[in-house]
């Protein structure tokens, strides 16, 4: 039986069906294996939240993603922010690459904080968005003077007037940085902020799956302490936390769409081999 080359519209239709069904119907899926970057991510938060030197320090939640990567970055943010608030750590939302990060991060933080009984200004704050053009100078200035460099929060209140920020004035008061991004913005933290204080700050990265490749060398060298790789990483983290969310549901779509691609590649190769044999037969 000759396998024809499929039109791209058929491929798109198949993908649309395979991705949609698990989102509408509960499709069974085995639990994911927890990979070392995710394990390290979880252990870093546990360590920072229990170490007497860092447990009262600030966590910077840097949301540099837009609505395009909601499925990956927002799932990661929800899973990890639930962990942070369960450890009663104070955090600050910040964005400098995509203004949507300020809104998406802020609204997610508001929802999770309200559920956990966190009060804005006492337990968490949203520093808002700063333009990417000046980020290097801003991060350098933040090392010694968070209040002066950032000025106000997203509501226009001076940082020095926010009760929580009285304890956090410089890089030495930051215990953890978590970067959520669809690009390589974590390099700014690593280059200009992470080791600029008197002790290095643990840095975690939540990239989209595509950007994770570039970040693996940073994991190897110890510049990053952990990483959640895309939607799969968020799914693994939800499994570790025993708190299934959107990532757990969507990972079924991810799994079956990967299987579809592998199947289509196999079919395409079988068709190509058949065509080749037919051409060789015809020339003989």
């Amino acid at each position: 039986m000759r396998i024809p080359q499929l039109d791209r519209r058929v491929l798109y239709m198949l993908l649309a069906i395979v991705v949609s069904i698990p989102l509408l119907v509960n499709v069974p899926l085995p639990p994911p294996a927890i990979t070392p970057p995710t394990k390290s991510f979880y252990e870093t938060i546990e360590t920072v939240s229990t170490d007497p030197k860092t447990k009262d320090k600030l966590v910077i939640i840097s949301c540099n993603f837009g609505s395009g990567t909601l499925a990956e970055n927002l799932s990661q943010l929800e899973a990890t922010l639930n962990h942070i608030v369960s450890k009663r750590m104070k955090f600050a939302i910040f964005a400098f690459n995509d203004p949507q990060g300020r809104d998406l991060g802020g609204s997610t933080a508001q929802r999770i904080a309200d559920k956990a009984g966190y009060k804005y200004g006492k337990d968490w704050v949203n520093w808002g968005f700063r333009p990417p053009q000046g980020i290097q100078s801003l991060l350098k200035a933040m090392v010694n003077d968070l209040h002066g460099a950032l000025g106000t929060d997203v509501k226009g209140t001076k940082l020095s007037a926010i009760p929580m920020m009285a304890n956090y004035k410089k890089a030495d008061d930051v215990g953890l940085i978590i970067e959520y991004a669809a690009s390589d913005t974590v390099k700014y933290w690593v280059q200009f902020f992470q080791r600029a204080g008197s002790t290095p700050i643990a840095t975690l990265f939540c990239p989209t799956s595509v950007m994770a490749n570039e970040a693996y060398p940073m994991l190897e060298t110890g510049q990053l302490q952990g990483m959640l790789v895309g939607l799969k990483g968020a799914n693994e983290f939800e499994t570790v936390m025993k708190r299934p969310g959107f990532a757990t549901r969507a990972s079924a779509s991810l799994s079956y769409s990967h299987l579809l691609i592998i199947l289509l590649i196999i079919l395409g190769n079988v068709g190509m081999i058949q065509d080749r044999k037919r051409q060789q037969g015809a020339t003989k």
Partner: protein, 269 residues
């Protein structure tokens, strides 16, 4: 690193001196060799195809600001535009960064002047689309579908939108040549483009296309530095295998306090 440490100062100055020295030597007439790079050789083939088919060419300098990567992309695009202008083929260049618009317009119009076809240049062909990633990608995809280009050249910094542009060009049957220092996008270009320029072939492109002594000299200087880096890596590898650290880690940094799981020094995996 906010400021140079002493090892960084020494190494950067030595590297710069090697490159500048080779450039000066090349300018004094030393003959230099550059190997064939298939992706760049294909540029003439792609332009020729566009001439035969009577369809236009799309040039994209990527999503970077005015930086080294984008200026290099612009230099490559200018060379392509010059070749295309010689044969009267229409060239269009959508721009992502507004500040790059006057520079790109000047560069492409100079390319047309150099080819003796200044009358064929229209400033509408070099146009600003958007500085939002997907708005730019949608705009380029629309241009590709409407103009049905015979060849597309994608050089510069790219992010997720690279596949949108490359696949749309594939749909209209365009021959595609891409080159980017964005390592995450190279796999997508390899899957969807006919020719891809990987790694520092990107920076060698202008030397390859123009064969100017300055650029060739710079490229040879780069190669010498890379050989030195390779030798250092091999030396470090051999010394580490023999457990003989000859020198302390010159770029030694402070230990990270938490989760040493990934720290090789502490026996992480």
């Amino acid at each position: 690193m906010n400021h140079a440490t002493w090892p960084a100062r020494v190494i950067l100055i030595v590297i710069s001196a090697v490159i500048v020295w080779t450039v000066i030597a090349a300018q004094r007439g030393k003959k230099l060799f550059i190997r064939r790079i298939p992706g760049l050789t294909a540029i003439d083939e792609a332009v020729g195809r566009a001439v035969e088919m009577g369809r236009g060419i799309l040039l994209s300098s990527g999503l970077g600001g005015i930086d080294v990567v984008t200026l290099q992309a612009l230099a490559i695009c200018t060379n392509i535009a010059s070749a295309a202008a010689r044969y009267g083929t229409k060239v269009q260049m959508p721009i992502y960064e507004a500040a790059l618009l006057p520079i790109a317009e000047d560069a492409i119009s100079s390319a047309y002047n150099k080819a003796g076809r200044s009358d064929a240049f229209s400033s509408d062909d070099v146009r600003y689309l958007s500085n939002q990633q997907f708005a730019y990608a949608a705009g380029v995809a629309g241009m590709i579908q409407r103009e049905q280009y015979a060849a597309t050249f994608l050089f510069g910094t790219f992010f997720a939108e690279s596949l949108i542009m490359a696949e749309n060009a594939n749909m209209v049957g365009a021959i595609q040549v891409a080159g980017t220092p964005s390592t995450t996008q190279i796999p997508f270009f390899i899957a969807s483009c006919d020719y891809v320029i990987i790694g520092d072939e990107y920076y060698a492109a202008t030397a390859y296309l123009t064969r100017q002594p300055t650029l060739l000299g710079s490229m040879i200087g780069q190669d010498r530095v890379k050989i030195a880096i390779l030798v250092t890596v091999m030396l470090g590898f051999l010394l580490t295998m023999a457990k003989l650290p000859l020198v302390k880690n010159l770029f030694e940094d402070k230990d990270m306090p938490a989760a040493s799981y990934y720290s090789p020094a502490k026996g992480g995996k």
